[in-house]
């Protein structure tokens, strides 16, 4: 038996309180396509960053072709035969394809840059691996798919024997995905080991030879692709057991708060949301299940108004708000707990007080709508309110002036939730509200959401955790490839049924979902 191309043993890495990798083992066999699967935050990117020398592990060992390696930078990894194509490309827009490919390792003739040799190299690699591209084209004129090919060529030019592709299909059109998969297959057949980082089950089943699944920083499954099923993969990815809140009971739905009709979102030519219709009523939690990247986030953005819709309407409390600004929608009655709590949900360099005041700074008691105080904020009122919310939501902090960025993930999330819940908006959109927070905070957050519902609030809950949806939602809609493909009531929802719908196996009829 030949040595594996790479072998990672017991890799652990933590960032402050968050354990990103916990004793991860990964064996990459030579000439295979190995998928590394997991939801956002499962630890895939951390693991790949460690393998590529961008991060150093707290514990564990890396063997490349049987030899122990300690990478202090990506340059060490490149020298050891690794290549990585990042989600965000690192290309020089103003230079040609050939110059980008050979940059830093240029062919020379008489001391000068040998442009012809560089172009010939790109053509030769292109023919060998099926990566068709004009070596003289400027990168600025290329499509996203073509830029990705340049990145792959860069790695191949440096004789990479292990090629890491980080979420390579996220930015591609379906046609480009097919081409990419052909390239991956050809590279593997030529002896290159390809690591495919992804959360898309159909990609794994289509192109990989082996799968390693990560969840919460640990390996939760390792399969040969031929011997596994999508249901098994979904379970390994999302099967985290969230302790259910004891007997939450059903909500008592009232008037319709949110009505989405035939909403469609197209982003850079790719359809993200296709003709989605559903309603959320007061006193009801509607869950949206789905493997991440199936349009849930774009749907939320369309409802909130941060992303334009190409078709359909969004109604809030009976008013058509499809063309309204985000601020007007929020004033009408939307609160949102965003998926990206550090980038979107909070201003991490600002204090808890300032974060809690954001969005509420124009109205009493912090601001004033009229009179001499209009346009000014009361720092004293903001701090008093912050102290009250810190106590009420059990935020563990040194004080209300501490920056949100220095809080742990769970406490930072409590700040966001306190801000969004404390003003009693009729509609709450909660996107992955418990992702990356510890068990204690999960229970507290779930309790808050149920209280909100009990107070007559309507909640749209987007989650990748089936158990979370089962614990909280009155109805569960399943989203796949931008469309709603199934609807379950609390009574007939099961992990297996939802998982099957998420994997596209049981495209149930929508008895209620398409109803206006």
């Amino acid at each position: 038996m030949t040595l594996p191309a790479a072998q990672l043993t017991g890799i652990s890495k933590r960032f402050n309180a968050v354990v990103a990798n916990d004793g991860v083992d990964l064996v990459l066999r030579r000439g295979t396509v190995h998928a590394v699967m997991g939801e956002n935050g499962a630890g895939k990117s951390t693991l790949m960053s460690i393998l590529f020398g961008l991060l150093s592990p707290d514990a564990g060992q890396i063997l490349i072709a049987g030899r122990p390696q300690v990478f202090t930078s990506p340059l060490d990894a490149i020298a050891a035969g690794l290549g990585m194509v990042h989600q965000h490309f690192k290309l020089f827009d103003s230079l040609s394809v050939a110059a980008n490919v050979v940059y830093g390792a240029e062919p020379r003739r008489a001391g000068l840059f040998d442009r012809r040799a560089a172009e010939a190299r790109v053509r030769e690699l292109g023919e060998r691996y099926g990566l068709q591209i004009d070596p003289r084209a400027r990168v600025s004129s290329l499509s996203v798919g073509e830029r990705q090919r340049v990145e792959i060529l860069k790695a191949l030019h440096r004789d990479a024997t292990i090629l890491i592709l980080d979420e390579p299909t996220a930015v591609l059109t379906p046609g480009e995905v097919t081409t990419l998969f052909a390239v991956i297959r050809r590279a593997a057949d030529a002896g290159t080991t390809v690591v495919l980082v992804t959360h898309k089950i159909n990609e794994v089943l289509t192109v990989s030879d082996e799968v390693t699944v990560l969840r919460d920083g640990r390996v939760t499954g390792h399969f040969l692709t031929g011997e596994t099923s999508s249901a098994q993969l979904v379970h390994a990815m999302t099967g985290r057991e969230v302790r259910p809140v004891s007997n939450p009971g059903l909500g008592s739905p009232g008037a319709t708060v949110l009505q989405v009709r035939d909403a469609g979102v197209v982003d850079a030519g790719i359809t993200r949301v296709r003709s989605v219709s559903f309603a959320v009523r007061a006193g009801e939690i509607v869950g949206i299940a789905g493997v991440s990247g199936n349009g849930q986030h774009e749907l939320v953005e369309a409802i909130l108004g941060t992303r334009p819709t190409q078709s359909g309407t969004v109604e809030l409390l009976g008013a058509d708000v499809t063309r309204w600004t985000v601020r007007d929608r929020r004033l009408r009655g939307v609160a949102v707990i965003p998926e990206d709590r550090r980038g979107e949900g909070s201003a991490i360099g600002m204090s808890i007080t300032e974060n809690l005041a954001l969005g509420h700074h124009r109205t009493a008691p912090i601001g004033a709508e009229r009179g001499i105080r209009r346009g000014w904020i009361s720092v004293r009122a903001a701090r008093a309110e912050a102290r009250a919310l810190i106590a009420g939501y059990d935020v563990r902090t040194a004080g209300e002036q501490q920056s949100v960025g220095s809080l742990s993930g769970g406490n930072a999330q409590k700040v966001v939730i306190a801000r969004e819940l404390s003003h009693n908006a009729p509609l709450l959109i909660a996107e992955q509200p418990t992702q990356g927070v510890d068990v204690g905070a999960i229970e507290a957050i779930h309790g808050r959401l149920l209280d909100y519902r009990a107070g007559g609030g309507a909640i749209l809950l987007v989650s990748h955790e089936i158990s979370e949806l089962l614990a909280l939602a009155d109805r569960i809609l399943v989203m796949l490839d931008g469309a709603l493909v199934a609807e379950f009531s609390r009574a007939d929802a099961t992990t297996a049924g939802i998982g099957a719908a998420m994997a596209g196996l049981a495209a149930q009829n929508l008895p209620n979902g398409s109803r206006p």
Partner: protein
């Protein structure tokens, strides 16, 4: 009025040469991602150093050498600050410019006991290329010029070709466009930025020497009079294509030379003095300049 004769071409080149050197300095800095607005101050320092060294040694070439070396040293502040310590080059450059203005005025008083301007009897300017006089065309254009004038043109072409056709030129261009990408491919980004900023200082030394020992033979307070800023404008105008610099700089030279000629036929001096600056603003507005935006690629979880 015979405005467009060969002597006019010579006048244009003369006026343009200091700006040519300085704009080449600015252009290579821009190529490595350092927005260099210290050209004005560095050129002024170079002009002073050239006059001082020429006065002490009696040799104008010693003046040029002193200007080039000492201005490269002067540029250390910007090179160390911007490349090593990642400080804001704009702030350092503003400091450099103010410092150059102050120190040259101060040293004129301390060393030569004069203020305002310094042109002692023993001060020797750079020789003109008289030996070209009998050559047709070239004689008329370059015969009355110093050797630095053709040197500026040659340097621009050599540097432009070096950037385009050598591995190091390619790497240098990549450093400015996307430093993270260059670093990810093993390029020493701060190293490139450091040495290019020093080289830019040396070029500003040439610019200053030509100004104080070539165009005239005198040092006056703030004698650069905005030429370094015109060079900055020229850099932005050509937006990363150094081979176009001569065109931009000669446009400025033409405006200045034309101004002198128009004075000769009675145009008000205030207007003709302002002509180069007005033309610079006009061209910048017309071409709708924009500073190249750099995208920050970052690793996402």
């Amino acid at each position: 009025m015979h405005v467009f004769e060969l002597s006019f071409v010579a006048a244009v080149l003369l006026a343009a040469t200091p700006v040519l050197f300085a704009s080449l300095a600015g252009a290579i800095s821009a190529q490595v991602g350092v927005f260099n607005i210290a050209l004005e101050g560095q050129m002024l320092w170079g002009a002073f150093a050239a006059v001082a060294a020429s006065y002490y040694t009696g040799n104008p070439w010693a003046g040029v050498l002193a200007a080039v070396v000492s201005t490269a040293v002067f540029a250390l502040v910007l090179a160390v600050g911007a490349a090593r310590w990642k400080a804001d080059p704009i702030v350092i450059a503003i400091g450099s410019n103010l410092f150059a203005l102050g120190i040259t005025g101060f040293l004129m008083g301390v060393l030569f006991d004069v203020s305002g301007s310094f042109s002692p009897r023993g001060l020797v300017g750079l020789p003109k290329m008289q030996w070209l006089h009998d050559v047709p065309v070239l004689g008329a254009v370059f015969g009355g010029q110093t050797a630095l004038v053709p040197l500026a043109l040659v340097l621009i072409v050599v540097v432009g070709l070096w950037l385009l056709f050598t591995p190091h030129g390619l790497r240098l261009r990549g450093v400015g466009e996307h430093p993270e990408a260059a670093a990810s491919l093993g390029i020493n980004v701060p190293g490139y930025q450091f040495w290019v900023t020093i080289a830019a200082g040396a070029l500003c030394g040439f610019a200053g020497a030509q100004l104080s020992l070539g165009n005239v033979t005198v040092f006056t307070e703030n004698m650069t009079a905005g030429r370094g800023w015109i060079a900055v404008a020229a850099v932005m105008l050509v937006a990363g294509r150094p081979l176009w610099l001569p065109l931009a700089c000669l446009g400025f030279g033409a405006a200045e030379a034309l101004g002198f000629r128009l004075q000769g036929v009675g145009a008000p001096q205030q207007l003709t003095d302002a002509a180069p600056y007005l033309i610079t603003i006009l061209v910048l507005v017309l071409t709708r300049i924009r500073i190249p935006r750099r995208t920050k690629a970052s690793l996402t979880a």
